[in-house]
């Protein structure tokens, strides 16, 4: 089964779910809600979640012949139930139902998280499907490698981290916390479908191993993933502490890169056209990490570093990422009463990636986007109910830029409207430059309950 076939099957199964089972699911959901609401009255459970409506329009329509998705009209219902009915236990479950009429590939019914917390004297354990967040830096966290990500919309990754079935334990000794994570079965990230605007089209030419440039046809093959059993188990440790105003941690991750390495096989036809077979393969990865944060005067100072040791530690396999270091260091500050009585929060970070082999690598690989990048964010409170946010990143090495602007307005308690603009700039064959046609605006209405 090739990649396209796989996506087709996912699409088909999603369609079948929505067409055949939606009424059954709705009935189940209503029953669950009614049961939960009744339980809430007895103070045993709490039910919450949100309803979100999104519209996205791109400034430039993609070529119709390529059948790319040119908009998104999506609704999300997230239901969350939690309970503290038993002393020293906490239960949480969240289900996301996402329907996108413009991009059926993004439809899903998804168990977001479902876990049980067990609190003991010096130890806490969380068992179940969960999202584990590590790292002191803002947004770009070299030590945060435990959860895969849904990249089906590459710039909409805020809420797209995918929970993993795992055991998280925290053992406390005075100010020291020892974290242990065991993930019994590997789960990969979701990469954009071939009809997505975020799927970068293959080039028309290929460079053969001999160095010769020939016309080429690319074809995606089956994913080669680790076995979906204990053989793909992953684990991680972290030791964190607080000492005289500093937070520190060191960590180690042993598992898999959740993004595939793309193996290429060339078959040169008699007509001089190369058939290039692309096989995505999941490879082993270790990450040695550390981070810190402190306050200096009115400034927050934070930093994080990771050494990513890939399977191609010696840099001899052209299809596997070379081992690399990545560090992030940043300052943040809140300025009060900037205009009127409103606050302004600013954070500026420097991200640097160093490839161990010394080779230059393209930043089009998701693992290599931020090579020598400034990343900044500013949040200004226009009023008590409105906020303007601008985030930007510019890589000085490969010269590409991404800017996101957002205007948030609280219509009432729990009801928020956001207007978001995303803008890309850069040379072709750079990560953000490849998406210059994907400048877009987004309207999001979200009600939390």
């Amino acid at each position: 089964m090739n990649y396209k076939q796989r996506k087709h099957d996912i699409k088909k199964s999603t369609f079948e779910f929505f067409s055949k089972k939606k009424y059954f699911s709705l009935v189940l959901m209503i029953i669950a809600c009614m049961a939960s609401l009744q339980a809430q009255k007895e103070k045993k459970y709490q039910i919450g979640g949100f309803i979100e409506l999104d519209h996205i329009s791109y400034f430039e329509n993609n070529n119709i012949e390529e059948e790319k998705i040119n908009s998104r009209n999506q609704g999300i219902l997230q239901l969350e139930v939690e309970s503290k009915a038993i002393k020293n236990y906490h239960f949480f479950g969240g289900v996301e139902i996402r329907d996108d009429i413009a991009d059926p590939d993004r439809r899903r019914v998804f168990l977001d998280e479902a876990y049980i917390d067990i609190y003991m004297n010096t130890m806490d354990i969380r068992i179940g499907k969960q999202i584990i967040t590590w790292g002191e830096a803002d947004g770009i966290n070299p030590t945060n490698n435990l959860n895969p990500i849904d990249y089906s919309d590459i710039i909409d990754t805020d809420d797209e981290r995918i929970g993993v079935y795992s055991i998280l334990s925290k053992y406390y000794i005075d100010d020291i916390t020892i974290h242990g994570v065991f993930i019994p079965v590997f789960q990969s990230s979701i990469i954009p479908a071939t009809n997505s605007r975020w799927f970068v089209d293959f080039p028309q030419q290929a460079i053969l191993p001999t160095g010769e440039i020939v016309p080429a046809l690319f074809e995606l093959q089956d994913f080669e993933e680790p076995e979906k059993d204990i053989r793909s188990a992953q684990f991680a440790f972290k030791v964190s502490t607080t000492f005289k105003g500093w937070d520190f941690s060191v960590s180690y991750f042993n598992g898999f890169d959740d993004l595939p390495s793309l193996y290429q096989e060339f078959i040169l036809g008699q007509d001089g056209v190369a058939n290039v077979l692309i096989t995505p393969k999941i490879k082993k990865l270790q990450v040695f990490g550390a981070d810190f944060s402190t306050i200096i005067g009115n400034y927050g100072l934070r930093g994080e570093v990771g050494y990513f040791r890939t399977e191609d530690h010696k840099g001899t396999n052209p299809f596997i990422d070379d081992s690399f270091y990545q560090y992030v260091v940043g300052l943040d500050r809140t300025f009060g009463s900037v205009i009127g009585e409103n606050n302004l929060f600013i954070i500026l970070q420097w991200v640097h990636q160093i490839i161990e082999s010394g080779e230059d690598v393209p930043n089009t690989n998701l693992n290599n986007i931020f090579q020598e990048s400034f990343v900044g964010r500013a949040e200004y409170e226009i009023s008590n109910s409105a906020k303007f946010i601008i985030e930007a990143t510019h890589d000085i090495k490969v010269d590409n830029t991404y800017v996101q602007t957002e205007l948030q307005y609280d219509l009432s308690s729990g009801l928020n409207l956001s207007l978001i603009g995303d803008f890309f700039n850069g040379k072709r064959k750079t990560f953000f430059g490849n998406y210059e046609d994907n400048n877009r605006i987004q309207a999001r209405l979200k009600y939390s309950f």
Binding site: T177, T242, D247, I295, R333, T334, G336, E341, N343, S412
Partner: protein, 268 residues
């Protein structure tokens, strides 16, 4: 040492409390000294509803649960958790005050599942979008001010001392947002009834009023159960309604930890 600023709503309450037995106190400093004694309970738990009202009358409400504990050196630890609305529910602050260095402050954001160390805010910054600044919410060092009883006046049927508070220490003059405060202290129970705030240009910019003053159950302390801050510059106001005061109930010290900050229902 940086003043412990971030979430000391209950400190306001303490400022409004006073020792009834000292009716003979007639100087401004004596009034405020007695008031200060009431500020530091060993520990205190409070449920607060904060209502923001804009100039058009539109309201937004947030509910907060706070626990405070003072140690033997009067350093204070505080943990505060937003309990509503849903989009901020679970957001929590932890602050630990030290005598010999800057305070530790962390913010837990449940949507990100992440705890961040944060810097102390400026005294003049507004507290979570309200009309209270961190200075308004904090304790004050009596040595930083000159207190003078100006006159006696009746506020809402209560006879009050009007105490004028003017910053005199160099550090306070630098960090405060006010040139003067007029503090009305009730004679009957020494709870503060009203404060007029004057900015650096000596313009009356805010007025704080209290109501529903009563003794806390199982405690000798009195508390104002409603506090309103009117901002005359923005025509915005913030109303704090307090419920379920629990004072000196023996709160455990280990509640004030990052471990606890990230837990749900940690201090219920």
């Amino acid at each position: 040492m940086r003043t412990f600023k971030i979430v000391r709503i209950s400190v306001i309450l303490a400022v409004f409390s006073f020792n009834i037995s000292m009716l003979s106190a007639q100087t401004g400093l004596e009034v405020m000294t007695k008031n200060e004694r009431q500020v530091f309970a060993d520990d205190e738990k409070i449920d607060i509803t904060m209502t923001l009202v804009n100039k058009k009358g539109k309201t937004r409400a947030r509910t907060i649960n706070q626990v405070i504990k003072s140690d033997e050196t009067r350093n204070r630890s505080s943990i505060i958790r937003f309990t509503s609305p849903s989009d901020v529910k679970g957001t929590s602050f932890l602050a630990i005050e030290y005598s010999d260095r800057d305070d530790d402050q962390w913010l837990y954001l449940p949507a990100l599942g992440k705890t961040r160390r944060i810097s102390s805010s400026n005294q003049t910054d507004n507290f979570v979008g309200s009309d209270f600044t961190y200075e308004d919410m904090g304790t004050e060092d009596l040595e930083d001010f000159k207190y003078t009883i100006i006159k006696e006046e009746t506020i809402d049927g209560q006879n009050c001392f009007l105490v004028e508070a003017i910053p005199i220490s160099t550090s306070k003059i630098k960090e405060t947002g006010y040139s003067k405060r007029e503090i009305y202290v009730r004679k009957s129970d020494f709870v503060i009834a009203k404060i007029n705030f004057y900015n650096k240009n000596k313009v009356h910019i805010k007025t704080l009023t209290t109501s529903d003053v009563k003794k806390v159950a199982n405690s000798e302390k009195s508390r104002a159960y409603v506090i309103t801050m009117n901002n005359h510059k923005t025509n915005h106001k913030t109303i704090l309604k307090f419920a379920d005061f629990q004072i000196n109930t023996g709160v455990e010290t280990d509640i004030f930890s990052k471990r606890n900050l990230e837990k749900e229902y940690s201090y219920e």
